[in-house]
Every structure is written in structure tokens, then in C-alpha cells.
Subunit: 245 residues, 2 copies
DNA sequence: GTTTGTGAACACCTTCACAGCA
DNA sequence: TGCTGTGAAGGTGTTCACAAAC
């Protein structure tokens, strides 16, 4: 699913900085490779073949090799990839060595759960602030952090170098929150609210929407049902599936 | 982000059932169109142009028209689309008229939040059961439902026609849960656990992973920083962005 | 005149298959 | 011999631009 990306660094011909411009599809898979590599490292593996890593990450090996080749890749023919080296490479590319500061806006049902999510820290992010617009919620302690009023965002953004804002508010508040984040200098937003955000050029938005995921699955249920119900007789499907976001 | 889909209904040439086989990318956008249409319907609009609907859904109008044309579309040239008709069409295609039964496995931090998510019911789904493997959690009441032990899944699956299973367990339990769901006849899975699931042919899996989303945003932060830091001088970007899952 | 529906061009991504290197 | 890196082929998805329909 399911985000856009217009705009492309128009001028700037010639002097390209030393930053590989990876295909978007590749970028989206790097975190999965990284996870698989961390597992492998824990099990003591020093090297891993493209076949093995691909299996662990749930992709096919040709795709994996092409993805890694884009980062200038450090594989050895006849052997495979050096696990530790590849971890470093991918973490560098993803910018995970920076421990970016994340703030979370909206401490309702979902926001609470996100604030308590352990995966943040373990993956190179620090939650530095929780915000809500509801005065009744301000002051509450969650996971060692105090909920502040959304008005304090600019102050916090100035103090910490806020990199990413996570929106977990109701849909009708989300655009205003996004505007506030952008005004405070945040240039990456992860939006859990079920609505389309509009943001200025240079700001990246990704969206996660439970209802949309369920509806996509519902479509496939519907499709599968209509295939088994009507046609020929036997066989209802032939291949494994797992739908493409 | 980012799922696969192999397998394709191999035999079955000829007698194709009356079910349009939409591009996966189109399917992923239909729920967004639907949401926009519901908003429009509330504001009293009877018809909407492709331009207007596209803006509301955050896509460009050519894409929207092509998407809708795949469903045999009911637009009128010079006028636009009939809002109510289009809502019905899309809800039919997505199979939302069936109010599919959903179960949720794993009632921890995230599971609690998902169980309380109001969007379920409002989008044509019924949560019919909550499961957990921890006896300490069994019996707890959440949002009017009682948490049951995961062992009871087969019984519940038999009683209700379970269509979709949502996995909100830790990663190390997720594969076992998926196996259990599949064994109980569930053919669609929404996985919030940070791991790759393997499932037999005919089962659809979609994955939602907070850490991956953050890492993708981190990459773009890194990229943006390396563009403003090094090259020429001025201009850091030119276009709006919003990254592609 | 307005707006849809769509062929054709283009861009992106995946997969194959093998040359090249350890 | 084994496995990576990659050109080339094939698919899928997007965008353009315009003819057809209202």
C-alpha cells in the first residue's frame, strides 16, 4: 500500500552526493533483511548465502541479490555475505546509527499501545515526547514519559532534534497535528489516523491503516469464495498468496 | 509495504467467474476511495468528478479513472460518478456486505488497543473472539468480549464463520498462531508481529510493522540530510514526498 | 463545454539465466 | 564447484493525452 512520492531533487545534476539512490521497493525490504540478519547473528552465523537470507526474509534470492547489489554490496562469490558487515551497511544506509528522536501525538487507545511498544528502542529510535490535546490526559505518565500538551511541541522540537512524528489521533485532528509537526520542523510522519494528509514538499508521510488492511483481505476472501463457488468443480486455488501492499 | 502473492488459479481456463480480477494496486486503493465517498455522501454530494474524488483520496485523477474503469465503472461523461452507486459497487467488490467475522489473537499492549478499535464495526467487520495463550489473561473482559484461551479457537471457528485472524502476539509465538488459524480454516491473516510467516497456498497474509515503517522514514531522513549537507548549496528538495510502501 | 474511459508511452520492479569470480 | 552480481526479458503499475459520450 500505499503512499506517494512526487518530487525528485530537480536541479543538482552532476555532483551527486555519495548516497546511493535505492529503488523504493528495495528500501522497504531492507528492514526485513536487517531483522533476519540480526537473528542470524544471534545464532552465531558469520556468513549467509543469498538463498539463506532470502528464505529468512521471505523473498526470492534473485531479488535479494539485486537489492544488496544496489548498496555496493559486500558479498563474496562462492561464499555468501558477511553477516556483521551487512548489518553495518544496512544500518548505515537506513540511518539507524543516529538514534532518531520520535514523538507520538495522541495518547488514546492506540497511542498508549504505541508508547509502550518496546520495538522503538531496540531498532534505533528514542521516543522523546508524548503529546495530546486533551488537558485531562496531560500529565499522565506512560512508560516513564509524561504526556504534554500539544502546544508544547515547538519547545520540545527545539530542544530535541525531532526527526519523526507519529500521529495516533482521531482522523479529524490529524491534519492539524500534521501541520503542527511540519511547522515544528518535523520532516517525516507516520500516520495511523484514517485520513489523507497533505504536507508540503520535502516532508515524507507513511500511513498505516488497520481498516484498509482488513478491507483488502476481505476482497481476497470474496474473490476466493467466488472462485470456489462457481466454476468447474474442484480446485479452488493453486498458489500461496500474501497480498501486496 | 510489502507482501507477496504467488499462485494464480492455474487450471480454470475458459469459464471465468463473474469476478473482475483487479490489479493488486487498484485493490489497495479502493478502501481509500470508499472512505472519501462516505465523506462526500455525508456532505450531501450526489455526484463527484474523478478530479474531486482523486483529490479527496490523495491520488491523481487518471489513476482513479483507470482504477474505477476496472470495476466496469458507472461514471457519466460530462458529469462524474454517482456517489451512492459507487459506494455500493466498491463495497460489493470488497465483500464488505458480508460483515466478516474477525478474531484477534494476543491481548497484550497492542492487542488491547486493537480490540478497542471502533473502526472494525464501522467498516463491515465483527470482532467475534479474543484469544490469548496466557491463562492469566483468559477471562478478562475487553469491550464486551471475554478473552478465551487459544485452544478454544477450533470450537469458535466452527461456530462462527471466522474469515480473518489478526495476530498481535510477540514474534516468537506468531508462526504457531498462524498455523493454528490455518488449521481452523482461517484463510486471511493480518500480522502485527515482527516476523515472516509461512502459510500454505490459498492463505493470504498482510503484515503491518511499526518498526519497518520507522526505518523507512529514517532512510529518507538520512537521504534528505545527506542532500542538504553536501551538494551545491541551496535547494534541498523540489517535490512533495510520501514514501511508497 | 465538461468529464469519462482508454490506448499508447513510459517508468518501475521482478525474474531469469548466466558470466565472472572466489 | 558454488555463489554473487548483473544484463536482458517480462510484468505490473502510472501517466499522458485524446476520442467518445453526455
Amino acid at each position: 500500500m500505499s503512499q506517494q512520492r512526487h518530487g525528485s531533487t530537480p536541479g543538482n545534476a552532476g555532483a551527486v552526493p555519495a548516497f546511493p539512490d535505492l529503488p523504493e521497493a528495495t528500501i522497504a525490504r531492507l528492514p526485513e533483511y536487517l531483522r533476519a540478519l540480526h537473528h542470524l547473528a544471534e545464532t552465531g552465523a558469520d556468513t549467509i548465502s543469498s538463498e539463506g537470507l532470502a528464505a529468512a526474509a521471505g523473498v526470492n534470492s534473485a531479488k535479494l541479490r539485486k537489492d544488496l547489489s544496489h548498496l555496493g554490496s559486500y558479498g563474496t562469490r562462492g561464499v555468501g555475505y558477511d553477516v556483521a558487515l551487512l548489518v553495518d551497511q544496512i544500518e548505515y544506509i537506513l540511518g539507524l546509527d543516529q538514534r532518531r528522536a520520535v514523538c507520538l501525538v495522541g495518547v488514546g487507545n492506540l497511542g498508549h499501545a504505541l508508547a509502550g511498544y518496546a520495538g522503538f528502542a531496540s531498532r534505533g529510535f528514542r521516543i522523546v515526547a508524548l503529546f495530546d490535546a486533551d488537558p485531562a490526559r496531560v500529565g499522565e505518565q506512560i512508560n516513564g514519559l509524561t504526556v504534554r500538551h500539544f502546544d508544547e511541541l515547538p519547545r520540545v522540537a527545539a530542544a530535541e532534534a525531532l526527526a519523526i512524528g507519529v500521529i495516533a489521533t482521531p482522523a479529524n485532528a490529524a491534519q492539524a497535528v500534521a501541520d503542527g509537526l511540519v511547522a515544528a520542523g518535523v520532516t517525516s510522519i507516520l500516520n495511523f489516523a484514517p485520513c489523507v494528509l497533505s504536507v508540503p514538499p520535502g516532508v515524507d508521510v507513511r500511513k498505516v491503516d488497520l481498516a484498509i488492511e482488513l478491507q483488502i483481505l476481505s476482497f481476497h476472501e470474496h474473490r476466493k469464495a467466488s472462485l470456489t463457488a462457481l466454476p468447474g468443480g474442484r480446485e479452488n486455488a493453486g498458489g500461496q498468496e500474501a497480498v501486496g501492499s
